[in-house]
């Protein structure tokens, strides 16, 4: 079986390529390295069955081979990145998804869209079930990512309805683990880098906003199950264990034995106040639920950040 992974050099894409190879798939990875890194490919580059092409999926995807699955993960995904690359973010969500779906149609491949909990915006329903339509500000600075993914979901469903291709939509909630970028602007890499460098931890707002963090291996397992026996309807993949950002900062201080202090900064525009997945659908349809305990996952991630900061 041959799988195309767009965004293969990204945090999630690179773990996914590794898991697919472990499952015995041949993998063609694609990335244009706008936010992905060459280093993320080190562990798969020389593995049998892996091929990589530097390509921008916003342009026509030239592949002359049979493909069984297309996993579309290409997109800037951290707020810092998409605030800096708003047009590229919209283009990859729209044109990139269109191209990837075109390939799926041409090859008769099963298609998976990496969507996001951001489609729920600043949610008025809590926890978020897949049938909640969301509360997104289309013209706010964050809207570029949220709306790109909402459009991508609409496009995916249209291809399913019009062309009958087999499609999957996973709504990925906050995910963390090794190979995140130190400076990607998300809370976990930021807190860990600050704690390990003995710098103050910057918490936005009063730190009472909540997030739910899942470890990368749980997400990869969910995606695999989704491809095996999933459903056309969107499925939330995330860890329902919710915590405030202040609590997260304190946990990271404890796990790193850091004496850094916590400082508070103004909240960014349209920052969601709460976020927690309802994973009933993933439980019942995929038999999936997160298995990695938060402290365990954070410890593995701290180790990786430590090595990274020490230049190992």
């Amino acid at each position: 079986m041959r799988v195309l992974v767009t965004g293969a050099a990204g945090f999630i894409g690179s773990h996914l390529c590794e898991a697919l190879l472990d499952h015995g798939c041949d993998v063609v990875g694609m990335d244009n390295f706008i936010t992905g890194s060459r280093e993320n490919l080190n562990h798969v580059r020389d593995r049998r069955g892996f091929a990589f092409v530097e390509h921008n999926v916003t342009n026509h995807i030239g592949l002359e081979a049979p493909l069984d699955w297309i996993l579309h993960f290409a997109s800037p995904a951290s707020p810092l990145d998409y605030l800096e690359l708003p047009i590229q973010t919209l283009k990859v969500g729209a044109l990139g998804t269109h191209n990837a779906l075109g390939v799926a149609r041409a090859k008769g491949a099963r298609f998976l869209l990496a969507s996001t909990s951001e489609v729920y915006g600043d949610p008025l329903v809590h926890p978020q079930r897949e049938d909640y339509w969301g509360n997104v500000n289309p013209i706010g600075p964050r809207g570029v990512y949220d709306e790109a993914k909402r459009f991508a979901e609409a496009m995916t469903m249209a291809y399913h309805r019009v062309h009958g291709i087999e499609t999957r939509i996973v709504r990925i909630f906050n995910t963390y683990g090794p190979r995140m970028r130190l400076n990607d602007g998300r809370a976990i890499p930021a807190f860990m880098t600050q704690a390990l460098r003995s710098e103050p931890l910057t918490v936005f707002g009063d730190g009472s906003q909540t997030r739910s963090f899942q470890f990368i291996s749980d997400l990869v397992d969910g995606i695999w199950r989704m491809m095996q026996r999933g459903t056309t309807e969107p499925v939330n993949i995330g860890n329902p264990q919710e915590m405030t950002l202040l609590e997260l900062a304190k946990r990271i201080l404890r796990l790193t034995n850091s004496r850094s202090e916590i400082v508070f900064r103004p909240l960014p525009v349209d920052d969601p106040k709460v976020r927690q997945p309802d994973i009933t659908r993933a439980r019942t349809r995929l038999g999936w639920e997160p298995r990695v305990d938060t402290d365990e996952g954070l410890k593995l991630t701290v180790e990786w950040f430590k090595n990274k900061l020490e230049g190992r």
Binding site: L63, E64, A65
Partner: protein, 56 residues
Amino acid sequence: MIDEELKAILVCPACKGDLLFEETRIICQACRKAYPIRDGIPVMLISEAQPWAPGA
């Protein structure tokens, strides 16, 4: 080195034409572009392609 399997599946992202593989570049004779190969990775970005002419 680009492996044979990858050679077999790549086409030109601009015109979908067949490609000619050289040591350091990949040529599309149809639309006269040369795509670079960097660190063994085919860079199939239209913006990175150099103009190519037969005999060059």
